[in-house]
């Protein structure tokens, strides 16, 4: 079934959907905004220019919404989509902002120039942007976020977190994770959340600070490595061994969680939960502004 909605500049179309279907949206430029409702249907509202058309295609497994240009690339389109909360989302664009609000399903969202922001998500949640920031809140599952030239933020979420950027900060705040890999090259990396006894936490940056909150009663083996940086702690630690270079280990409580903290030339800091201020967003000496 193909509903070709040409010539219309304002589109408002609703198609019924069923469990097992996923929603795919591709918009070259503009905005994709997905929210949820209680109906088993997908509503597509769009404001499109005359040279751009919006196609809605539906089959047994997928409902797809895509923009195309009559001559050349599509112009900016504001796509407002309402979908069932259970429906997995696959969203992509180039010069596109992507926002998701309230879903309880898997999310894949990818853009080049534009921010990606999601509230919700369950299962595999993958958010990526090249030039824009990436933020996620209220999700659970396997959370995989990356940017190249901006910040990555995760808050009020749980599961396994893999967060990465090249030129920006990574902040994981109020994250209840069993596994964390958070890396930046030119930015700060910060984690605020419980350190679970069976968890593994690896935070690293080349040119920035690493901050981790450690609550009272934490049980963790901590390995700290830096080349030309510093280490500070809000509470006393007893080093079990110091090796050549600035590398040392220490144990907190029983030492069951594995925590690895690395900054080539920044400060590695342990703080108590009330002291957490997130990534500081310091200027690390590399101009990244447009």
């Amino acid at each position: 079934m193909l509903l070709l909605l040409a010539l219309l500049q304002q589109i408002d179309s609703t198609v019924p959907v069923g469990r097992g279907q996923r929603l795919e949206v591709n918009a070259f430029a503009g905005e994709i905004a997905v929210s949820v409702w209680n109906r088993d249907a997908v509503r597509v509202e769009a404001d499109a220019g005359g040279s751009t058309r919006v196609e809605i295609d539906r089959n047994a497994t997928t409902v797809s919404v895509r923009t195309s240009g009559r001559r050349g690339p599509p112009s900016d389109v504001e796509l407002r989509i309402t979908a069932p909360a259970w429906m997995p989302l696959d969203l992509s664009g180039v010069n596109t902002e992507i926002t998701v609000e309230g879903t309880r399903a898997a999310i894949s969202a990818e853009t080049v120039q534009g921010d990606v922001s999601a509230n919700g998500g369950d299962g595999l949640v993958s958010l990526r942007s090249v030039q824009g920031s990436v933020s996620l809140t209220g999700a659970k599952g396997r959370l995989d976020l990356s940017s190249v030239n901006a910040d990555v933020e995760v808050s009020a979420s749980s599961g396994e977190v893999n967060a990465e950027t090249v030129n920006g900060d990574v902040t994981l705040d109020a994250v209840d994770a069993t596994s964390v890999t958070a890396t930046s090259l030119n930015g700060d990396v910060a984690y605020n959340g419980p350190i679970k006894s069976s968890g593994r936490y690896a935070l690293s940056t080349h040119n920035g600070d690493v901050t981790v909150t450690v609550a009272e009663g934490t049980s963790a083996s901590v390995a700290v490595s830096t080349f030309n940086g510093e280490f500070t702690s809000a509470f006393p630690v007893t080093l079990t061994e110091t090796r050549k270079g600035k590398r040392f280990n220490f144990t907190i409580g029983g030492g069951s969680a594995q925590v690895t903290l690395e900054s080539f030339q920044g400060t590695i800091e342990l703080v108590r939960p009330g002291q957490f201020q997130g990534a500081r967003g310091d200027d690390h000496g590399d101009d990244d502004e447009e």
């Binding site: 120039q113 090249v130 190249v148 890999t181 080349h206």
Partner: protein, 222 residues
């Protein structure tokens, strides 16, 4: 830097040590900081490898890259549970190897990860294990070849990308190159430092990842 247990850490990580041998190793781990550090590095490499599992290749560049690094021809088979087995010296090249393999899409084509053999392992048994930096010639050549291939594809296709995107990519590649240069200097000053070697490998992996992303953008615009 190493002891009789070092070469068993990979088996331990794979769950292959049983009974008394496992208990002995765990007892040793409690008091050996070097082995703890090596085990942590092994875990990071494995985590990185597994994180690549669900990523589709940006483009099938395998044919060209395989020729450069002398890899076997493409094979197709049923997926097999991955195992990640490294000896200590091999670990230090693993990050680069992962970068090269992921850049080529080989993870999709070769679902069983072979033991990394880019660096000749040191003799096992008693005595010191020589730590071979990631800049070992064969690993470095493979990495350079992969980077060169990706850069060539990017150079040919950069005209298809938005100029702002090209600028951002170039800025970030320059950042990574600067970090690689700093890490190389650090490794040169302290070649036995496992952190510095791992950090260098990770930074090199970042460059390949970013180039791979850039090539994917070019491919998408084609």
């Amino acid at each position: 830097m190493s002891d009789q247990w070092t070469d068993r850490l990979s088996a331990y990580l794979d769950g292959d040590l049983k009974g008394s041998e496992r208990a002995l190793l765990e007892a040793h781990l409690e008091r050996c900081e070097d082995c703890q550090e090596t085990l942590a590095s092994l875990r990071r490499v494995v985590m990185r490898a597994r994180s690549l599992e669900d990523r589709p290749p940006a483009a099938d560049l395998w044919a060209g890259v395989a020729e450069r690094i002398g890899a076997p021809a493409r094979t197709v088979g049923l997926p097999v549970r991955r195992r990640f087995t490294f000896s200590l010296p091999q670990l230090l090249a693993a990050g680069v190897a992962l970068a090269v393999l992921s850049a080529s899409g080989a993870w999709m084509l070769h679902p069983v990860v072979p033991t990394v053999t880019l660096v000749q392992p040191a003799p096992s048994g008693q005595g010191e294990v020589t730590v071979t930096p990631v800049a070992a010639p064969s690993a470095a050549r493979s990495y350079d070849a992969a980077v060169q291939d990706l850069e060539q594809v990017l150079a040919q296709g950069r005209g298809r990308l938005d100029t702002a995107t090209v600028r951002v990519l170039e800025q970030n590649l320059a950042l990574i190159d600067r970090a690689i240069a700093e890490a190389r200097r650090a490794v040169a000053a302290d070649s036995a430092n496992l952190y510095l070697n791992s950090h260098l490998a990770e930074t090199m992996r970042r460059k390949v990842d970013l180039l791979r992303q850039a090539v994917a953008l070019v491919a998408a615009e084609s």
